[in-house]
């Protein structure tokens, strides 16, 4: 209703027919505001940000960006003591910013060199560097500094009715389309165990080795991970000012402890932050959005977490509304990559009414490639997206595939034939049916399986008995059901291949391979991380190039006229 209603026009004043057309364009439903730098409502160029400085005494940093240690807040302290290399910082900060910016862009400077220099930089110095870069230079920087060589993508699979069968079917379709990671969350939090099971089972049907997570309150999320019902975690939020961090009921030390807790269970984890969150919560302390985000990035690095989801994320409406905001969002992805963290680069929340603007916001991540271009792409229609909508959704699948083919860029997805999609959706729903029966969870009917096979949204499914499901969800937790129990039940009920895939994902915990930076699993269960698949971009002709078998795969679309027989389409 009101949010998408056209702007009221001042009757009485005559406007041109062209103005009427422009007024009706979707972009004019977006909100734009003037900057207010004193309050931090400014993207990245503010007179109120500190000037870079660093001073070391007795082996510790005693001054950081104009503040002496006695005036440090806890972000300063954590960054000075954990993120910045003390031996390297004075020389690094003394390097002219223009030199560093050029190193980021110049292909003849290796990633290793620019990452090494970055280890000694302070937040204000990093900001000083990226402020010199335009958006194309920022993309050049991302292309070189992203940690994994092969780009990937992440999906949201959620349901407006928290229907676990829908989540499973859409996860299966997402996995077969190519997403390396699948993420869910809930409307009704108590549904979490069933939805997390649906996501895991669906993911392993679509292709082996997809990794799944369920965004919940920190402690609950860790619990599901420890049980092996989810495979990784991402919604571990951090903030750029002390006051907002405390409002989020955490500190850098509690989050660092949590990072180690995940690693101690062999579970992959990344933090989440983004421009705009502090000003949105009214406590930006007069700093620009990007300056505060750079503090988050360094805090994440100091905690030793392997990666970060950033790119404004749930606050995208804030940088999106100020001048240069989307440049700042690209810059925060660059800084995360440059600081040698896995970067899941946003493009994940509804951003604009304008299809053209949605696409332009996407390109700075999609063209250079990032560790996860979207974090994530809505693998359900946006109205079923319980993260409040994504910049990309199921309706956009074909557009995405065409852009990949037009630009010869790998965005992690591919076109998949309808028969294959129907088959994996059906199998995911049947696997859930069998699993629920095996575990004495509420019945999944044949009618629901049929609906899941052909559905688009939650409207296309029969309603579930919500109270019975919530009882079932509770019993999953009370009975202490683990991932291993699910593997056994799938095996017993005739879904051996799914069970085998799931077991292989769980087995990864023993090796810890997925704990390394930017690790994902290929369909053959080969861990691919910024060690064995390190980004080796060094200018034209190097780094990841879309070629060979994968390029042939991406040439396929829903409709391509056959060259051999123009009366037919390529299948």
């Amino acid at each position: 209703m009101t949010a998408v209603a056209p702007r009221p026009t001042d009757s009485g004043v005559r406007t041109s027919k062209r103005t009427e057309i422009l007024e009706a364009r979707p972009v004019n439903l977006d909100g734009f505001v003037e900057e207010w730098p004193e309050k931090g409502l400014v993207a990245m160029e503010s007179d109120f940000d500190p000037q870079p400085s660093v001073r070391v005494e007795g082996g510790r940093i005693v001054e950081l960006d104009g503040r002496t240690r006695d005036r440090f807040d806890f972000m300063d302290t954590f960054i000075a003591d954990h993120a910045i290399d003390v031996e390297a910082c004075e020389e690094a900060v003394a390097t002219p910013s223009i030199e560093i910016a050029r190193m980021l862009v110049d292909p003849r400077t290796s990633r290793a060199d620019v990452v090494a220099l970055g280890r000694g930089l302070t937040p204000a110095k990093i900001l000083d560097v990226v402020k010199l870069m335009n958006v194309v230079e920022i993309m050049m920087g991302i292309q070189k500094t992203r940690s994994r060589r092969t780009p990937a993508n992440q999906a949201h699979s959620t349901s407006a009715k928290d229907n676990p069968i829908q989540v499973a079917a859409d996860a299966a379709e997402g996995a077969v389309r190519g997403f390396a990671e699948l993420e869910s969350t809930l409307g009704v939090v108590r549904y979490a165990p069933l939805v997390a099971i649906g996501l895991q089972v669906g993911g392993q049907v679509g292709r082996g080795g997809t990794l799944t997570q369920c965004a919940l309150e920190e402690a609950t999320e860790l619990d599901l991970g420890m049980r092996g019902i989810t495979a990784y975690a991402e919604t571990i939020s951090i903030y750029g000012t002390e006051s907002v961090f405390v409002d989020g009921d955490d500190t850098p030390w509690s989050k660092a402890f949590l990072a180690s807790a995940y690693a101690s269970r062999g579970i992959k984890m990344r933090f989440t932050s983004g421009t705009g969150s502090e000003v949105q919560m009214g406590n930006a302390e007069g700093r620009s959005m990007l300056y505060l985000e750079i503090r988050c990035i360094l805090m994440a690095k100091g905690a030793g977490v392997q990666g970060l989801q950033n790119g404004s994320i749930s606050c995208i409406g804030v940088p999106g509304a100020v001048p240069g905001g989307i440049r700042a969002v690209a810059a925060e992805n660059l800084v995360a990559s440059w600081m040698d963290l896995e970067c899941a680069s946003g493009n994940d929340q509804s951003f604009s009414h304008s299809p053209m603007r949605r696409t332009s916001r996407l390109l700075p991540q999609m063209l250079p490639g990032t560790d996860f271009v979207c974090s994530g792409y809505s693998a359900v229609p946006n109205k079923d997206n319980m993260f409040a909508g994504s910049n990309l959704e199921t309706d956009d699948y074909d557009d995405w595939n065409v852009i990949q083919r037009d630009m010869q860029v790998d965005g992690g997805l591919r076109h998949v034939r309808e028969d294959v999609i129907l088959q994996v959706r059906n199998k995911a729903a049947r696997a859930m049916q069998a699993l629920f029966a095996e575990l004495d969870l509420p019945v999944i009917t044949d009618e629901e399986v049929e609906a899941a096979t052909y559905a688009n949204s939650s409207d296309d499914y029969p309603d579930r008995d919500v109270l019975a499901d919530l009882d079932g969800a509770r019993s999953v937790m009370e009975r202490g059901i683990t991932g291993l129990d699910l593997v056994k039940a799938l095996e017993r009920s005739g879904f051996g291949e799914v069970a085998e895939n799931y077991l292989k994902v769980l087995r990864q915990r023993v090796s810890g391979d997925l704990l390394q930076t930017a690790a994902v699993l290929t369909g053959d269960f080969v861990p691919l991380a910024a060690i064995n698949d390190a980004n080796d971009y060094a200018g034209p002709g190097t780094g990841y190039r879309l070629s060979g078998e994968r390029w042939e795969e991406l040439k396929k679309l829903r409709h391509v006229t056959s060259a051999e027989n123009p009366e037919e389409e390529v299948v």
């Binding site: 009101t2 949010a3 998408v4 734009f32 409502l41 009214g282 999106g320 100020v322 951003f351």
Partner: protein
């Protein structure tokens, strides 16, 4: 929807005295934020503050309730505003409203960060919703358990309103006056034809 109403009514909040604890067991307190009515005059989607108050009062009255209105100056935290109102309310029920429109139904005995009903998406609150909130408040005050006002959701509220909401929040924050205690006010709604 708003354009027609906009020119019709204005709101003045006439100060009566310090905000004090009420005694009527079925009364509802409407607790308004520092910038409500002055300097701001309408919500994030241009619903006039006069209309917000008028509809809340109408909703309360049509369920046989009575209301008092207070204005708070020391915080812009909606939970705190509403909880403060609830503690002054004879029934223990209060409606807290921020000037951008965000609204919560609160009860004295609940924890501050808990609530009876929360309406976090200010852009989706129109006259009809404010009336329904008033009606529910009156029913809670009479010890009933009304069906919660249906929540609305809009995927595209973020791109249109998130930044303006941040701006309004910052502006309202500037209206905080720590020296000024909460007051009871009489809402004077004037038709301007």
């Amino acid at each position: 929807m708003t354009a027609a109403v906009e020119s019709v009514r204005t709101l003045a909040l006439r100060e009566i005295g310090p905000a004090e604890r009420g005694t009527r067991p079925e009364e509802v307190v409407i607790a308004l934020s520092p910038a409500f009515g002055d300097p701001f005059t309408k919500t994030i989607v241009d619903v006039p503050h006069a209309e917000v108050v008028r509809q809340l009062l109408a909703g309360i009255e049509e369920r046989g309730g009575s209301a008092r209105v207070i204005k708070v100056y020391r915080t812009t935290d909606l939970a705190a505003i509403a909880h403060f109102g609830a503690k002054l309310s004879g029934s223990g029920i209060a409606v807290g409203v921020l000037s951008r429109g965000t609204t919560v139904l609160h009860q004295r005995d609940l924890a501050r960060l808990s609530n009876l009903e929360l309406f976090p998406q200010a852009p989706l609150l129109d006259a009809e919703v404010f009336r329904a909130i008033g009606a529910n408040a009156a029913q809670y005050a009479q010890g009933q358990s009304p069906r919660p006002v249906p929540t609305r959701n809009d995927q595209m509220a973020r791109p249109r309103w998130q930044a303006k909401a941040a701006l309004l929040h910052l502006k309202e924050f500037e209206c905080i006056d720590h020296a000024r205690a909460a007051v009871e006010v009489e809402p004077v709604i004037t038709r301007v034809d």
